[in-house]
C-alpha cells in the first residue's frame, strides 16, 4: 500500500474543498470546461459516487443507521473505491483528475462529529496527495445563507442532526458548519491547502484557479516533449 504523498504518477490531481455553499462545484465545472477546450484528457470524480457503496449510504441516511464511526468508515469505503477506480488509473494514464471534495471533507466532517483526528487521517492514508487542493473559504454566515435560501429542507446528516446540538435543523446546521469550518482552517497549514476567497466574483476566482493550475500543466507538457 502506497501512502499519502508517496505516489508518483504522470497525471495531475486537482481537488476542490470547502463548506456547503462555498461555490466550489461551480468553479470546478468551469475549470473542467476550460481544460477540455485546451485539449487535455480530463477525468471528473465526485464525493459519494462509488457504484458499489451508493445504495448502502442512501439507505443508511434514510433510516438514520449511522454512528460517527460507521459514517466515517462507509465514506472511506466509498472514497477507496473512487481511488482504486477513478483516481489512480487515470493518473497513471497521465490524465488530469478533477475531484469535487476529497479526504479533507472527511477530516472536517468526521472530526466535527467527534471522531479522533489521528484515526481519521490514518484511515485515509492510502489517498493520493493532490497536486493542488483548493479550499474555497467563505465566512460561515455567507455559506449558510447560500444553502438555507436555496434549499429549504436541510437533510438530517447534512445538518448534523445526529449530534443532538439542537432540535432545530437550521441551528444544528449552523453549529455543525461552524465546527467544520474550524477543521478546514486548521488543515490549511497541515496539508498546504490553497485558499481561495469564495466571496469574490466567480470570474475572479476562476482566473486565480486557472493561473495556479497552468503552472503545473506547463511543467508537465515540457517534460513529455
Amino acid at each position: 500500500m502506497i501512502s499519502y504523498g508517496k505516489h508518483q504518477f504522470p497525471g495531475k490531481l486537482f481537488v476542490v474543498e470547502g463548506t456547503d455553499g462555498s461555490g466550489k462545484s461551480t468553479q470546478l465545472a468551469l475549470l473542467h470546461q476550460w481544460l477540455k477546450a485546451e485539449g487535455y484528457p480530463v477525468f471528473f470524480s465526485e464525493w459519494n459516487s462509488s457504484p458499489l457503496v451508493k445504495d448502502t449510504t442512501r439507505r443508511a441516511k434514510k433510516r438514520h443507521l449511522f454512528t460517527p464511526a460507521t459514517f466515517s468508515l462507509l465514506h472511506a469505503t466509498d472514497f477507496a473505491d473512487r481511488t482504486e477506480r477513478d483516481i489512480i488509473p487515470p493518473l497513471k494514464a497521465g490524465a488530469i483528475v478533477l475531484a469535487d471534495r476529497y479526504i479533507y471533507t472527511a477530516f472536517a466532517r468526521d472530526v466535527a462529529r467527534g471522531c479522533n483526528r489521528a484515526w481519521v487521517r490514518e484511515v485515509y492514508s492510502f489517498a493520493v496527495k493532490p497536486t493542488v487542493a483548493f479550499f474555497f473559504r467563505a465566512p460561515l454566515n455567507v455559506a449558510i445563507d447560500r444553502i438555507v435560501s436555496g434549499r429549504p429542507n436541510l437533510k438530517y446528516y447534512e445538518a448534523g442532526m445526529d449530534l443532538g446540538f439542537s432540535d432545530d435543523p437550521e441551528d444544528s446546521f449552523t453549529m455543525f458548519q461552524g465546527k467544520i469550518l474550524e477543521e478546514y482552517d486548521r488543515m490549511v497549514s497541515e496539508f498546504g491547502l490553497t485558499v481561495i476567497d469564495a466571496t469574490r466574483s466567480i470570474e475572479r476566482q476562476q482566473r486565480e484557479m486557472r493561473m495556479l493550475i497552468s503552472q503545473h500543466l506547463k511543467r508537465r507538457r515540457s517534460r513529455s516533449n
Binding site: L52, V53, T70, L73, A80, E84, G114, V123, G164
Partner: protein, 238 residues
C-alpha cells in the same frame, strides 16, 4: 469467537454451541462477518460483481464490523449475553495481509475492537482438506474464497489452494501473536464440539470477565458527543 479459514466448520460449531449454551440458560447473541444491518447487503452485492478493489473491500468489512460492534455486540454484552461471533477482526486482518495491505493500517482501523474473552481457531493442516469440504458442501468454489482477485493460479482450484495456503500461514502467525485457542478441526464434529464446550464452560464460569472487559468501551459508543471517540486509537489489540 470462532476464527478459521473458509470451510472449516465455523458456522456448524457456532450453531451447536449456541443451542448448548441456551439449554444451559445463557442468553446468546450470534453474529458474523457481513451480517450488519448497515453494510451486510451492500457487501454481498459488491461481491457478486468482481470489481471490488482490495482497499475498498477492507473498509467495507470494517464498516460492517463497527456497525455490529456498536449496535449488536456491545449492547448484548452490557445486557449480560454471551456473544458468539463467526469470524472477528482476525479474518479481516488476514485477508488484508494476504492482499499485501499494510498491517499497521488495518490494525489501526480496527483499534476500537474489543479484546475477546477467547478466540477459538479451528485449524486444518492443509488447503487440500478444505477442498474436500468445499466439494462436500455442494456449493463449489467461490470467487473470493478462492482468492481469484489475486490471480494466483490458472483456475479456481489452483487459486484456491494457493490462497488458502497463504491464509493458513497468516492465521498460524496471528495465532501465536494473539494467543488463539487452537482446535484441530480435522477431527469429527463431535470431538471438536466437546472441546469447545469444555473451553467455553471454563470462561463462563469465571465470574465477571465479560462485564469488566467492556467498561472502557462504554464511553466510546454511548452518546456521539464530540469527545467520545477521542480514545478511538488508544485501545490497542491484545
Amino acid at each position: 469467537m470462532i476464527e478459521g479459514t473458509d470451510g472449516v466448520g465455523r458456522s456448524t460449531h457456532i450453531a451447536l454451541l449456541r443451542s448448548w449454551l441456551e439449554s444451559r440458560g445463557h442468553a446468546v447473541l450470534d453474529t458474523g462477518m457481513t451480517r450488519s444491518v448497515l453494510a451486510g447487503r451492500g457487501i454481498k452485492e459488491a461481491k457478486t460483481g468482481h470489481t471490488l478493489g482490495r482497499l475498498t473491500m477492507q473498509l467495507f468489512y470494517a464498516t460492517d464490523f463497527i456497525d455490529r460492534l456498536e449496535n449488536e455486540m456491545l449492547p448484548a454484552l452490557r445486557a449480560g449475553f454471551v456473544v458468539l461471533t463467526d469470524r472477528y477482526i482476525y479474518s479481516a486482518m488476514a485477508r488484508a495481509e494476504v492482499r499485501g495491505i499494510d498491517s499497521a493500517w488495518i490494525r489501526s482501523i480496527y483499534g476500537m475492537a474489543l479484546v475477546p474473552d477467547a478466540v477459538f481457531y479451528l485449524r486444518i493442516e492443509s488447503p487440500q482438506q478444505l477442498v474436500e469440504r468445499v466439494l462436500a458442501s455442494g456449493r463449489g468454489f467461490d470467487y473470493w474464497e478462492s482468492g481469484m482477485d489475486l490471480h494466483l493460479g490458472e483456475d479456481f482450484y489452483d487459486s484456491f489452494i494457493e490462497y488458502q495456503r497463504r491464509m493458513l500461514k497468516v492465521f498460524d502467525r496471528m495465532s501465536a501473536e494473539f494467543g488463539f485457542h487452537v482446535l484441530n478441526a480435522s477431527r469429527s464434529v463431535r470431538s471438536v464440539a466437546s472441546d469447545l464446550r469444555r473451553a467455553v464452560t471454563k470462561i463462563i464460569d469465571q465470574p465477571s470477565s465479560t462485564n469488566e472487559a467492556i467498561q472502557p468501551e462504554d464511553k466510546v459508543v454511548q452518546a456521539p458527543a464530540p469527545t467520545n471517540l477521542a480514545d478511538f486509537t488508544k485501545k490497542a489489540l491484545p
